[in-house]
Symmetry: C2
Subunit: 249 residues, 2 copies
């Protein structure tokens, strides 16, 4: 783990780092309380499709958990996202996404099958690197990821016993059963699952299907009206409450 | 409104009262902070089928809102429940409910159609009586009711503009569309809707149908695994958070 830069604001220190995973350089951000020493709960933040590690919703959530509860939080760019692609590739992605989600169900499943192994390895390597820091240590670990952050996060969490509570959302189980259905069924950790009633990318019935599939006995689905990216702001209070319930006690 | 008795415990005063509504004497309980003066938010608590105004879940929830937030709370016996029937009728009801919910969908719809007008009038009269007390007054009003507390509560809340936030749950929209479908569609207040994934009385699809029917733009459905009466205890934290968000600010 190589620290690239360091900034500080409102009691939160932010370290931009790279982790090397096989031939991939994975760019990440680690947030922690200024002057932190010793182990603490750690929140892993997986971003959505076409977004990146510095998406403002993730940054705000990270700051909140650091400031209110002394957590550490980390986000990395997923394969093919953020600093892992150049400006021409970003322009192509913006063009593809401008009229909504561009992939067919079958194309998405193929992309997930190709991408999941690397994404899982990268999160594991990031977790190893971050937990080796004395101011993060071996505290409890939670995962947060909506949309692509869920479809890549579910196989990661299924493969990673150190994660003991997860917030997923904006995903369903249809064609992509082949990509992460078995992983979803194998989960036993507490899950908060966030869904939008009028999601134009994932029909509510597929969302309910994914929620049913989770093997966990402690799982809650929250459904609000509105489209894919219109989760009401008060749900962030729920994320916080859920993490504190499972990681702080 | 006639106060029958008064007891006090842990900062909460409990007044057992009767309200007369046409030919019906409706027994109720009012909880408030000891020594309360002036207006405050008021929580109306509707109990489930075969239960009564002193069901322990309601009493605990009332005490919590009174002690933590200075609310007043009130519960009344629904038609055909609690102190409104004698011991022989209670024994018959226990016998009917001992193997699960005893009514067919059509029988339930008929019972609701016959019961809703009286239940709505009784809640309105109770609200009038309670708001006339100087230590309750004209503060914001919320309603809580699961199962029968929802199927009777939805028409009441639809008819009562003083109620500005509601928690419903363990109900669905099927045959009983005729009884409260129009009322559900007419609602515009913030709603928290609680549902159980393996509810043996109401299938999840009918629960999702009722949630879809609510006309409110601010509404959240929480789904947990388990049967009808197995809502996990942490959802009470959610009831509290929801009421405080909408009634205290």
């Amino acid at each position: 783990m190589k620290v690239i830069s360091e900034t500080e604001a409102a009691g939160v220190i932010e370290r931009r780092f790279d982790v090397q995973v096989s031939d991939q350089t994975v760019p990440g951000i680690l947030w922690a309380p200024v002057g932190a020493t010793g182990s603490r709960p750690l929140l892993l933040l997986g971003h959505g499709g076409s977004l990146h590690k510095r998406f403002e919703g993730l940054v705000r959530f990270a700051h909140r958990m650091v400031r209110n509860h002394g957590y550490a939080a980390v986000a990395i760019d997923a394969p093919g996202h953020g600093e892992r692609i150049d400006e021409a590739q970003h322009a192509r992605m913006r063009e593809q996404f401008k009229d909504g989600f561009p992939l067919s169900a079958e194309q998405l499943t193929q992309w997930l099958l190709a991408t999941i192994p690397g994404a899982v390895a990268e999160w594991k390597a990031t977790l190893d690197a971050v937990q080796a820091l004395d101011y993060v240590g071996q505290g409890k670990v939670g995962y947060f990821g909506l949309s692509m952050g869920a479809t890549l996060g579910i196989p990661f969490v299924a493969a990673e016993p150190r994660v003991t509570a997860a917030i997923f959302g904006l995903a369903g189980l249809g064609t992509d059963e082949r990509a992460f259905g078995a992983a979803a069924r194998s989960l036993t950790l507490p899950i908060l699952f966030i869904f939008q009633l009028h999601d134009e990318v994932v029909p509510a019935e597929l969302g309910l299907g994914l929620f049913r599939a989770f093997g966990s006995s402690t799982k809650t689905m929250h459904i609000n009206p509105g489209k894919h990216i219109a989760i009401p702001p008060f749900e962030v209070d729920e994320y916080e409450l859920f993490l504190v319930r499972h990681l702080s006690r």
